[in-house]
Symmetry: D2
Subunit: 367 residues, 4 copies
Amino acid sequence: MNEAVTHESVKHAMQPEDTPELRELYKGFADNNLIPLWTQLGDLMPVHPKSKAVPFVWKWSELLPLAERSGELVPVGRGGERRAIGLANPGLAPNAYISPTLWAAIQYLGPRETAPEHRHSQNAFRFVVEGEGVWTVVNGDPVRMSRGDLLLTPGWNFHGHHNDRDAPMAWIDGLDIPFSQQMDVGFFEFGSDRVTDYATPNFSRGERLWCHPGLRPLSQLRDTVSSPIGAYRWEYTDRALTEQLLLEDEGQPATVGQGHAAIRYVNPTTGGDVMPTIRCEFHRLREGVETPTRQDVGSNVFQVFHGRGAVVLGGKTHTLEKGDMFVVPSWIPFSFQAETQFDLFAFSDAPIMERLHFARTRIEGRD
Amino acid sequence: MNEAVTHESVKHAMQPEDTPELRELYKGFADNNLIPLWTQLGDLMPVHPKSKAVPFVWKWSELLPLAERSGELVPVGRGGERRAIGLANPGLAPNAYISPTLWAAIQYLGPRETAPEHRHSQNAFRFVVEGEGVWTVVNGDPVRMSRGDLLLTPGWNFHGHHNDRDAPMAWIDGLDIPFSQQMDVGFFEFGSDRVTDYATPNFSRGERLWCHPGLRPLSQLRDTVSSPIGAYRWEYTDRALTEQLLLEDEGQPATVGQGHAAIRYVNPTTGGDVMPTIRCEFHRLREGVETPTRQDVGSNVFQVFHGRGAVVLGGKTHTLEKGDMFVVPSWIPFSFQAETQFDLFAFSDAPIMERLHFARTRIEGRD
Amino acid sequence: MNEAVTHESVKHAMQPEDTPELRELYKGFADNNLIPLWTQLGDLMPVHPKSKAVPFVWKWSELLPLAERSGELVPVGRGGERRAIGLANPGLAPNAYISPTLWAAIQYLGPRETAPEHRHSQNAFRFVVEGEGVWTVVNGDPVRMSRGDLLLTPGWNFHGHHNDRDAPMAWIDGLDIPFSQQMDVGFFEFGSDRVTDYATPNFSRGERLWCHPGLRPLSQLRDTVSSPIGAYRWEYTDRALTEQLLLEDEGQPATVGQGHAAIRYVNPTTGGDVMPTIRCEFHRLREGVETPTRQDVGSNVFQVFHGRGAVVLGGKTHTLEKGDMFVVPSWIPFSFQAETQFDLFAFSDAPIMERLHFARTRIEGRD
Amino acid sequence: MNEAVTHESVKHAMQPEDTPELRELYKGFADNNLIPLWTQLGDLMPVHPKSKAVPFVWKWSELLPLAERSGELVPVGRGGERRAIGLANPGLAPNAYISPTLWAAIQYLGPRETAPEHRHSQNAFRFVVEGEGVWTVVNGDPVRMSRGDLLLTPGWNFHGHHNDRDAPMAWIDGLDIPFSQQMDVGFFEFGSDRVTDYATPNFSRGERLWCHPGLRPLSQLRDTVSSPIGAYRWEYTDRALTEQLLLEDEGQPATVGQGHAAIRYVNPTTGGDVMPTIRCEFHRLREGVETPTRQDVGSNVFQVFHGRGAVVLGGKTHTLEKGDMFVVPSWIPFSFQAETQFDLFAFSDAPIMERLHFARTRIEGRD
């Protein structure tokens, strides 16, 4: 093995001399829809992942006003379907992809508005950084959306939203649209122009069946591909994180690192990720905590839920406040610094990487 | 195929005539520790399971006074380890087995008493039909035991109990002792003569880490053979059953049968049974409900938690009250009749049957 | 923890004084089908597995003549079903169990005889130490039985045998009858009095579909509980073992220990054991090899296929020749000494132990 | 639900009027790296997969001469690494992708040449339509490459090739380069400039350990992500297909359709696909057979191994001969017509689709 050799140092080694014969050969390739490997190996097979996507931060103070202005200028309805504004990674222009696999958007629904029902193969979730008053109706089950809640609409479930209040509401959407589009896997079907049930219960039927810790309904013994829980309530998330930090105070192993509590949202039928392509987590750092630098194969997206702090992202420090979002492309180093208690919602494509056995993680100091 | 043929009708067909030569052959078998199949096939391979265990009911009104009297006469401590009185199936005498796989007992701890710590391969749980005041300390984690709670001590976890109050307490134990003893799988080790932690917290550390519906601690991503939840609280069980019946009232699919709510206690890391050999469930029948007759391969044990009703067990009706326990051996038909709202805790060896692919169930009217 | 404490040293600690009141209490237990734990804990929960089954060796030189004599005196046919003679562990009398889980027998079929068809929940295999000429017909598929072959009849498959030759044939059967009988899981059904197909092909249809290494028929993509391969041919087993020893000679990692080649027979749809309750393996030791002493939870049965050697079984050395069989009960230490090249067929209940998470193995020098 | 509605019919519904205010809003989006969903929903979420990749056929009669000419003009060695010429889907220009997930190439090695060793995350295989004389050395294990063989180099295994003969050899490579590149998962490392072992054994060590049907080395009990079999020999593939057609002649269920034999190459440790991202199969059609039209989510690539026939691909018929290759993008209908016995090697990204739960297949006449 020859570890010091890099593509850079050897890349011209196999390049033949430019002759008329070679040009003719290359023309033959082109005429027959062929491309030689030896001219582009370094791009096709880099030494480590080098994403076209770039690390990037979107400020909530910019996002929200633009969403509000959209509410004034753009109607919501059949065809466009959603008043959603995608966060477009500058490295992936002209696509509205936040990463090669993930799509993230801010969605906005004005007072009493309805976003019509449809379904698609793409897996989706919503996370609410602030506000309340909208219900998302998933396969006929009305699900309240409130601050701190994670709401799921796994692939091929009909869903629409309606705002039951006189105030607008904004939230973020996460989907696997870029993956689905590039891999050609998506189906789409329109549903009702209105949501099928305008009831506004505090708890969805899915929650009432499933949100009892360690208890499985005997009528629901078949494992499901995605979680049957439509809403992961902030109350539970907050309590779980609080308990982890209290246990840490008592000297018990509970956190992932000193001062770093975290939960993964899971499918209760399997204990695994909520959807086949998207992982959702929530992280809480105590004031003053700095996390070790980490690199993951696959892309991570974060939204600040509470507090102030910073992310060091590919070597550059970005200060962050409530609602700010950022993307960490594959293998880009990142770490956090918590100025106050610092709460972050996170999602990623880790289930794709793990199921296809491409996952790798490097954490500073643990090599 | 010849379905009408039974062992009874053909059992003498292959029996050779009794001759001196045959007797000599059979003596040769005996001298060499051999036994011919043809003389005992019907016993070894019956047409359907015919357990030596018999259906049987134990009345709480008999059990509890005997446990209380044991509290007066028998000390608890090292050697005997537990003041536990096993329910011995009359068909399996002289063993204290409630079924070929399962052991059930009433355990009793007087005021301020301690049952010393030990661990064993056998999987165990406790269920509390009434009372409070005892903490079971599982691998150093004190777990409160209160009415309606299911408490787990999976195989090879150290555990002891202590009563923190001035009143005695009784509960039931369930273990896989008969399976372990017959299959020769058990190891045992003594631990501390006292419990290692006399704290009396309301919630164990396991609960504080794990009992948040759909949320998994990021520090606990390795699946565990048995559930990491030490206590399944009555509050959650009751709420889950209540919601199922409310959903049924609303016309939603939630119950296992009309008027029959039920949950299975599960391991949150997998969604499967709490322990590899024992399934635990809780069933609630509305007043007046009669369940269809059911037969299972494997044995079921029930304890009435609340209400009055009856079980038809192998064709015979037994009326039941709070605390009464009964066993349903393999393939014995059984059904329930609820005189009032009727709550039953249930445990079984179904995980053994399913993992070894011997499970079969027949439900009246669903053939 | 107090490791030096044993049941022996503490067993009287909790035994109360014998008083009239205690006798009355114990009578109350007896009257109510109750047995106290404290009087029998050491038996119910030993420090390590202490099987009633004993280590035992059966000599082929005794087995075969008794089987032949049975062929003269006992007809084969409906009712007795098989001319099979069970190896009865002396510690498990009066049952014909070789271990608490396993049944082993020598079966004998005279010239042109037929053993009628039936099916049962119990999983079964046959292994042929010598001879040929019998076909076993499994769900209508005739499977040749020849020297060194392993033949499967997983649970609930119809099967019968017929001898196509003018010479008798003997082989061994292995089943999970003791497990099934004690756990009450067995169903049985008679089939045709004759086998359904008297064809005598060299290869069964199952082999023709499945016995192509690494290739799966596209028409058979559903995994099966038990192996779809009805016959594992000696030719392949011998070649696999030969290659392992050659690879060892070349300095490659291929054997399980120096001079010890071994294969496990597996279900090609999963890579796991051939049946849910029975593991089958074949071991080959080079001349002169001695294996380290081993203890397993669960029971192992061996038959010498070729060569001479010895087994040290619970501390006692037994010399062995072709056809000799022996049982190793749970946790009994055993090791091998090969006088010549020494080939052994092996089966065990390890899948039960592994699936229920009771498996433990201790190998001398690897603690 | 409103099934008749399509994106086409509704796509303008939500488009707001073009006003200065809207333009300003859109400029705000652009300035902040945001893109509204409502302007591009139909592209992001089509009604069914509409791949940019197009159905396409490459003729062996074109491929091979260009590969031979490359052998004359382009040296093989460090840097370019391989004399491989990628089949570039016209719809995916300028990338050398045969589909969004898969890469396919013809590779050529002149007499006595060596392609140096390296390793990468990308999974790779080679299939030999004709020729012999090259050995691929995978993690130090020399693997003969001969006509009809499938050779695996799963991710992160070092591998190089050398031609041991005086004649050149060509074969095809298949990799998941497009998936890896777009999803940013690839690592790459150079190895030895020469292969590490120039031995030319008939069978690799992996084959000698693993290619015994239904037999698993006891030294290899840990399941592996990819198959441990480095070479799937034509002899076995041919025999498996031949037997399926013979069984069909005998009236047995063995083929996937009348006159259509097929096998999947599998990992013997799991029974599943050979690698996490690539499925490999071989299909044989009897002369005259026409297959039903099929649509799959995900992309399929085929190479004709033997015989003459045609593929109807997206409605257009292409005649095919030995060596011809073609790609079927996601959801494009395709069917075969066999003029002679028609043998096809096939590979696809189906494991990706299945593991992420996007797989769908529609077969004409089976809706």
